[in-house]
Point group: C2
Chain length 112, copies 2
């Protein structure tokens, strides 16, 4: 079981800002997963990978693919209090789900 | 309501590694919060700040202070599959809790 969080590389987010957006996406997708997937993922140590997206469009394309595959998905818009314009889409989380199911969506992306 | 996640700056973590550790700490502390605190925090937009710690010792000092104050706390040790030695302490999450209660623990730290 794993979760992939894909974050935009083109926004110039600071490491702290990036981390907050990734955490937000992660938690939101975990809440959409069913209880059994959550439990299995936690027992395996909450495996996470943080991957890079070149732009907003890629996030939405991956979101559709993940949803079509029936995976838990969350896309995050920043409230815009700092650094970014309000409503800026920053990150997408896919899973927790089986490694192969997640890799089928995000396996071509590089580590952030 | 807010949550503060304090991460070590001295480990040279990549942005993606940092983000994964922060997400892990965030989720773990959220699970320790009571249902009402969780709900109030989510309704307020999951406010998070990511702060820097110069070293491991500071994380443990803050952990004790936060626990004494009765706040939800989680400290994260990396599994060590990549970049870090297994068991390396990387991050501490405090809250969700009231802004003042969190600031009383982490208010002196800088944004990561």
């Amino acid at each position: 079981m794993k979760q992939a969080i894909v974050a935009r590389r083109d926004l110039g987010m600071s490491p702290g800002k990036l981390a907050a957006q990734v955490a937000h996406a992660s938690l939101s997708a975990v809440e959409k997963a069913d209880a059994e997937a959550r439990r299995a993922w936690k027992q395996g140590g909450q495996k996470k990978v943080v991957l890079r997206s070149p732009d907003e469009r890629t996030l939405f394309e991956l979101k559709v693919i993940a949803e079509d595959a029936g995976l838990p998905v969350a896309i995050i818009r920043d409230a815009g209090h700092t650094q970014l314009e309000p409503g800026t889409v920053t990150a997408l989380a896919v899973g927790p789900a089986g490694d192969e199911a997640v890799d089928a969506v995000t396996g071509d992306l590089k580590l952030y």
